[in-house]
Symmetry: C2
Subunit: 335 residues, 2 copies
Amino acid sequence: MSELQRRPTLMDVAEAAGVSRALVSIVMRGAPGAAESTRQKVLQAANDLGYRADSRARLLRSSRTKLLGLSFSTAQPFHAEIVDAAYAEASAKGYEITLSAVANGRPEARAIETLLDVGAEALIVIAPTLGVEDLALHARSVPVVSLLRDDVGQAVDSVSSDDQAGIAMAVDHLVSLGHRRIVHVDGGTAVSSENRREAYRAEMIRRGLTPWVVPGGPGEEDGMDAGRILQADLPTAVIAFNDRSALGIMESFKAAGISIPANVSVIGYDDSHFAKLSYVQLTSVSQDAPLLAAAAVGRAVDRIEGAKSPGSVVRTPHLVIRKTTARAPEGNSDT
Amino acid sequence: MSELQRRPTLMDVAEAAGVSRALVSIVMRGAPGAAESTRQKVLQAANDLGYRADSRARLLRSSRTKLLGLSFSTAQPFHAEIVDAAYAEASAKGYEITLSAVANGRPEARAIETLLDVGAEALIVIAPTLGVEDLALHARSVPVVSLLRDDVGQAVDSVSSDDQAGIAMAVDHLVSLGHRRIVHVDGGTAVSSENRREAYRAEMIRRGLTPWVVPGGPGEEDGMDAGRILQADLPTAVIAFNDRSALGIMESFKAAGISIPANVSVIGYDDSHFAKLSYVQLTSVSQDAPLLAAAAVGRAVDRIEGAKSPGSVVRTPHLVIRKTTARAPEGNSDT
DNA sequence: TAGTCGAACTAGAACGATCTAGATGAACAT
DNA sequence: ATGTTCATCTAGATCGTTCTAGTTCGACTA
């Protein structure tokens, strides 16, 4: 068949249009300094040859790469939502996103190095697992924005969701429905699990209620396990670490003939795809991925364009009330 | 605080070590041609300075970039599984993966161009939506491998899963359990929906059974809708387009008091995370993401390293039998 | 002793863009 | 006629690598 052909360069276009390379560069970038007539001629030639600028050369030469490095994990569906939104926000601000995934045999450190190597002007790391030291190290050469985690030291920016407020909303909602026996199934070792657990404890105590934490994890199976434990001594409401855990909890309840929300109310966290399903209709705390992504991109761009000192942006989540929460059942209002 | 510092270059390392740039380049690449003693000296200097090669410059200069471009969609969890596996396979073969996502306002064409611009030596596109013409156009400059779609013309490679075989396995399994009234809820306009639908038709006819297709789609809600339709005239078994659709179908059955697998058997497709959940235990056709990814990467590398003509690899899926399929209920074996 | 060889190393030209500084020439003022 | 200005265009340096074609020098051969 046809053999692979070399891609055209600036030089090729310049020759075809009968001008210098520099002028072609000017036209392709849309920079001022070219007569309209020649501009057209050059664009025509470029189009005929199917010319596209080689980003390696472009990025190498220009000090500004206009590239934002984004590291995410393939294992987290929520990250995909953020990636999606980040693309939109970045291109609105005139930046490109370059991705690097944390995958099975590919640690976060590797993902970050890759981003740096291609010339990213800033790093956005979703739920970084790196230590504060390592993050600070990278922050010496490029602005670093931590997304979904805020205990990242002085050197790096953070954009996170206010877990304290999110949990408070959940508790508040339940209390206003008359619940007092409210349990929290935590996220085990997952990122933000501790934050939410402590927020729950504080909030319960603040209201004169006794905190009651059951160990869990970020997956459906973890929720299942916790649900089975709870069946022995049923609370009137459960606040799960996330939606997937909530799903597991609900499944285990359903299997035991416990009905939701008649017998027990359940609240999830993330307002994910699952929560919205018509047969789930899970009341959930929404962190709003698009908003978080926009804030992270905004922060990164600000830092690139001059803002000196890192700061932390905290977005307040909101509660999406659906069908898994209702008034507390009667005769169960003891402490 | 400390201001952003320029990253060290080959030149810096060369000066620090008291050798030429070329020598440092040799050492950093692990190429032969440097005495062990100087090699150590250079590595030491590089380490002290925190030197990392700038991949833009490296890729620009070397004809071989050893880069595989991978385009995926943020909306498909299954793609994430493939990305994960592709990383592992690529690095085993000495290649790097560069990602580009198809996201909300970011069409596939854009994702592909980005990959080309950074110098990918081959393109792996997961479930391409581009026309055969456009794919062929790109294939003129670089090998293109289509993953999960096989009607892509002569110019591009394809790695796909044998839908025909997968559906046949599903039908076979059900027939062996005594089912005759087997319905297929299709995937609507989704990729491979048509393949599976036609495979189902052919397979049913081949066995002297009458095909029965209900329109559906790739999501849970689509399954729900189809499930509701089916309740009026219940089949003994359902083959869903994918796991998510199967989940929706099962939910709608459960809500109507129809029990699975006692009254109806259900088979999904993808053997996703959901199918494996302990409270789902969905019998499902597995396409085996790691195997598909490995085949695609292998194909891409083969083409890069000399294989002239594109070909298509078809992997045979396998059926994972769990708890949603059982013997057909008695007295329901009419046509 | 001179010649050959190979290992270790280096200078300088790529790669394909952008950027700086300057050339060119038409239009206008003096 | 001369100088000034401005828009338009270009030559050549540059980004940080890799690659090509040497050079250098000690060891070995004849």
